[in-house]
Subunit: 167 residues, 2 copies
Amino acid sequence: MPGSGKGEFARLLSEKGIKVITMSDVLREKYEKEAKSGERLMDFAKRMRQLYGKGVVAKLCVEKIEKGSNIVAFDGIRNWEEIEEFKKVGEVIIVAIHSPPKLRYERLLKRARKDDILTMEGLIKRDWEELEMGIGNVIALADYVLTNDSTIEEFKSKAEELIKRIL
Amino acid sequence: MPGSGKGEFARLLSEKGIKVITMSDVLREKYEKEAKSGERLMDFAKRMRQLYGKGVVAKLCVEKIEKGSNIVAFDGIRNWEEIEEFKKVGEVIIVAIHSPPKLRYERLLKRARKDDILTMEGLIKRDWEELEMGIGNVIALADYVLTNDSTIEEFKSKAEELIKRIL
């Protein structure tokens, strides 16, 4: 979910030398090449999913896996159909990063990136857009849930422990 | 999710003197009074939700709250509409108990209660029945996620800690 800290977890994986493919970057790359004039990224993503199925972004990501890769991390899964795509090419371990909604909203308001919606209402609306895509199913069926509700140091230490356990 | 250990968490709350209302018991009570001849519990629940809305079981549970109650726990939330019902009568704190699917299936196969479906396929099917009701959204938006993936002792100790933090 937005503001949960999954980006931080991806950075830690990257520091350990694990190739991380950020799913939104792969989608954006396609968007920049193929979007209709004036089409928003979110609408482009919806159109792609309607045209090529709900697993389309995962399919694009699988194409990015370099030959001979052993472990690859995908940051930003949105639905179970994407998991099914990844299962076609290897063993899948799902790690969900969880933070309480209140804390996520606080972080997002603080972070305020260009594409962040800045009202509480907007953040709740965005949560539900993600949930409607099916992200809740992926979290419910995750192999590991890492809680990120205290300090960044504690999260990092728990994340390091989990990475050791998985690898 | 089935086999996650939420019943164990409810027992711990109960031991601390907190009133626990088991949502499936409340549903079953209504089922025993009002089900059509031969109607399965699951089908009765579906019919109730169609007739009275997805929050219907929560509405029935709210009627069970004794006057003057301060804290009440509800075991077995299935969808966000139920959360909305509980919010009408007080502050809601959502605790999700998470276990990796593989471990849940192992436990359920071991436990094998009368109403447990005993094949792996059946368990996966039941997971998706729960997910289709919207339980993934509740897990994704939980205030706390408690992981139950090692020993019962470790789970109990984490649960005790969380209960202290909440109360």
